[in-house]
């Protein structure tokens, strides 16, 4: 068999490994070789753990050879966003303040990956503490979009999207607080899913905004995301917000790929004006494909979405300001002594460390959140934002009365150029306008590639939203669309991306 192992999907790799055609060690080595060749150009990884991954791969191969019954994905490697605690492997959250910190414990979802026998290739780059939409806020330098290295791979999970888009890993774990899995998927031509809030344990996920954060899968196909989703989802007694109910049948839904009889709701407020024409055009084509597949289209309106961005940028910084308070230079991570001060106080060390250890975007949001929570302003800001949050949930509930799933373009534009929006936070924030409502309401969302925009030839994303705990519907719709589009394109979209080995020399 001459399959390029780096281009095989996770489902294909699982079959090859199961049949004994290849070993996990071969697969892992192929991916590590690819990383050696291209990551200098893409910068998807903050830490590559070749030795650890090969060790895990060897162990899985040994167990398989011994006839042990293994998980379906056993031996399929995965990359993990650097916001998740990994025992014995650095976890920095893209921040100087955590540089060198090696957690003494694994996040629950990492434990589940290990238990499934999935070698962990390394930790992927991200905007510092997941604050950003471009990965340019990483303290360790930006990641690049494999479609055009001068462009952003999305954010905050640009490392996880680009690692998958550049064939360094078939699967990656991302986290989505306002769209950080879906928007990077959209701009890199990959698939990314944000499960229902509480569907995947947050234990070990370094919190940005606790009430919004949700870890989920990144992959090149809808089925692959469903397979990874099934590994990491499910109740965790260590996370009190984790849902104690059976995981929706996401893999079955992805395999069925059937939308016949389904009511697809187009959210009026998330299409048209403000969306790049090429993105809008691909969205409309995608809707037509679903109609061809037997779906019925309805238009729904969610008027409160107008306030979603404002509410999000009050709730997120408020929670973040509190979550980041623990980074005080006292117990782990960076410690900086203020210059010119003899015997500095704990407060002075804390101030100097935070000044040196936190980037501008993090500082901006800490200040914003501290202000929004302070007495006298709480009701006007945090309190009002929580009310908006309820209105948005009500809008979704009403919309789901009329439609089984809701759809929109994932991001209003294709990937912008690195540096273009760095000095304009508001412009950057607007890139998450279509993804944020799902986080505020806690519902699941999925982004699948809808094709390349005419004006720049860059990928556009198609977003599917479903009611809480109906994650399976996302995969049914996503897989149906993917099948029709792939047929129309004559192969996977990513095959049209430049071959980075030439660019990287």
């Amino acid at each position: 068999m001459t399959t390029d192992l780096t281009r095989a999907t996770a489902a294909e790799l699982a079959d090859l490994l199961g049949a004994g055609t290849v070993s996990s060690r071969e697969v892992t080595q192929a991916l590590l070789d690819r990383t050696a060749a291209v990551d200098g150009a893409v910068h998807s990884y903050l830490h590559v753990d070749g030795e650890g991954a090969l060790g895990q791969a060897t162990e899985v191969d040994r167990r398989r050879a011994a006839g042990e019954s293994l998980h379906h994905l056993a031996g399929v490697p995965v990359a993990v966003k650097d916001v998740l605690a990994t025992r014995g492997l650095p976890t920095t959250c893209g921040s100087r303040i955590l540089e060198g910190w090696v957690p003494p414990y694994d996040a629950t979802l990492v434990t589940r990956l290990r238990e499934a026998g999935m070698p962990i290739l390394g930790k992927t780059n991200m905007d510092e503490f997941a604050m950003g939409s471009s990965t340019e806020h990483s303290a360790f330098g930006p990641s690049h979009n494999p479609w055009d290295l001068d462009r952003i791979p999305g954010g905050s999970g640009g490392g996880s999207s680009s690692v998958v888009a550049s064939f360094q890993a078939p699967l990656a774990i991302g986290t989505d607080t306002g769209g950080s899995i879906r928007q990077p998927a959209a701009v890199t031509g990959t698939v990314g899913a944000k499960p229902t809030y509480g569907g995947v344990s947050r234990y070990g996920l370094v919190a940005l905004a606790s009430s919004l954060d949700q870890a989920g899968p990144c992959s090149r196909t809808v089925l692959d995301s469903a397979l990874l989703h099934a590994v990491i989802a499910g109740h965790d007694p260590m996370d009190s917000t984790s849902i104690d109910a059976p995981v929706p049948a996401v893999v079955e839904a992805a395999r069925r790929a059937d939308v016949s009889g389904m009511r697809i709701g187009i959210v009026k407020e998330l299409t048209g004006e403000g969306f790049q024409p090429g993105v809008q055009a691909r969205f409309e084509e995608a809707v037509q494909h679903l109609v061809d597949g037997g779906a019925e289209v309805v238009e729904v309106s969610c008027p409160s979405f107008t306030y979603a961005l404002a509410a999000y940028y009050l709730i997120l910084p408020s929670e973040a300001s509190s979550n980041l308070a623990k980074f005080d230079a006292m117990r782990y991570g960076l410690r900086v002594s203020p210059e010119g001060v003899d015997a500095p106080s704990a407060e002075q060390v804390m101030a100097a460390t935070r000044d040196a250890g936190f980037g501008d975007e993090v500082k901006r949001r800490i200040i914003l959140g501290t202000y929004a929570l302070s007495s006298g302003y709480y009701d006007a800001y945090y309190g009002s934002a929580q009310k908006v949050r309820r209105l948005i949930a009500n809008d979704f509930a009403a919309a789901f009365e009329r439609a089984d799933v809701l759809v929109s373009p994932t991001a209003p534009t294709t990937a912008f150029r690195l540096g273009d929006k760095l000095d304009d936070p508001m412009a950057m924030y607007l890139n998450d306008i279509a993804t944020i409502p799902a986080n505020l309401a806690g519902i699941p969302g999925l982004s699948v590639p809808s094709g390349l925009a005419d004006e720049d030839g860059l990928p556009a994303g198609f977003q599917v939203l479903a009611p809480a705990m109906a994650d399976d519907r996302l995969y049914a719709v996503g897989a149906a669309l993917e099948a029709r589009l792939t047929a129309a394109w004559g192969g996977p979209l990513l095959d049209r991306a430049p071959d980075l080995t030439e660019v990287a020399r």
Binding site: A85, Y105, Y203, A207, D239, K326, Y332, M350
Partner: protein, 507 residues
Amino acid sequence: MSTATEPVLGFDEALATYDPVMGLEVHVELGTETKMFCGCPTAFGAEPNTQTCPVCLGLPGALPVVNEKAVESAIRIGLALNCSIAPWCRFARKNYFYPDMPKNFQTSQYDEPIAFEGYLDVELDDGSTYRVEIERAHMEEDTGKSLHVGGSTGRIHGATHSLVDYNRAGIPLVEIVTKPMLGAGERAPEVAKAYVATLRDLLKALEVSDVKMEQGSMRCDVNLSLMPKGSAVLGTRTETKNVNSLRSVERAVRYEIGRHAAVLSGGGSITQETRHWHEDTGITTSGRPKSDADDYRYFPEPDLVPVAPAAETVEALRATLPEPPAERRRRLQTTWGYSDLEMRDVMNAGLLELVEETVAAGASPAAARKWWSGEIARRANTEGEDVVTYAERLGVTPAHVVELEGLVTAGRLNDSMARQAWEGVLDGEGTPTAVADARGLELVQDTGALEAAVDAVIAANPDVADKIRDGKVQAVGALIGQVMREMKGQADAGAARTIILERLGQA
């Protein structure tokens, strides 16, 4: 830190002009096996940082999960304090920077406490009852503990470095907050002490905490302000933190009344601040100013789901409440036949349990009260300990009292011998029998010797003997006394009396 004594007005003088208003906040460490939000053990006195995990160390990514047992304890406390129990409430984050606090926020309850609007009736020394209204009882977690090394005082100033022990971080606490107590007047210090004592007894009866004030598992903050007599406007208050004994609660209230009064009478104004209580000198000193700038930026803890105890659960917990201490006290008083004064003495000395155990072990209520409230109470007081702790330390048990009473009833010891035997027990000489044996304490049972002594005493006191012969029987006491002296105390006074009266024809 300044420990200079500030002017204090005399207590009576202060109360002639002002009415004190008190609010007490009592923190109780719950005696759960594990911490509030993780599975770490809560045992006291373990090696520093051996009872920690990512959760209670606040490591990045770790999440809290509420301890169900702690919630149950909090609900039972609320019920025992006649509070309403919230059908739905949340934890909040109290954000502030503190080196002992791993997350730099404390997970607590803010505007949604688990229990609210209750009361506790407190009995005072004169037998009257004061009703303390409870504002709320809420759940929170304790912080860690700093140790400042290298200085002479153990305080942070002068220390070369500080060490932090997180074993205590995350231990479940319930904070019980009273409403402002008005109208206690001169009895304010007594009310404060009686409230904390009553609360301590109640919490002990609930078996939710070991309520050891000296180990910090029960701590009291005293809020106090003064109102000019006839005014209805509350004055500025101060908060005296971490008052650690019943006696100190009373003293701290008394001291702050005098201090506030001196400041106000001198035309000054009270600064709203926290104050430190100094056990040794009996004064408070200025701590951190407390102002509107104290902004904890409370918001609902997003990492925890709300606490929503079902009505049936609450009722089931209500059924587990022990007999309220006040009712229990009345019941025991009736059973034991104590006078009000005797009962109050027993209560004030904290002897209720010990007397109860002793009676259960077979002693008469009278003997139990007599032996525990006598010499041992005096000694314990000198040592500055309560009787229970003192007795525990000496290894003196209810069984000793039972044995002592048995020796008296059997006629081996008279009252004064029994006292000597008890002193021997307290001196560590062994059981009452062992002491009596060692010290040769034994009533003389030989009637021949007794009769001889009686005859000798009658012969030596003819005038007294005549009086008795004439019917003045009450004079017999003088002769008994002399017989006892003759017998070196080892005679049975009852037997001596019988023989004297026989001899003098009055039997």
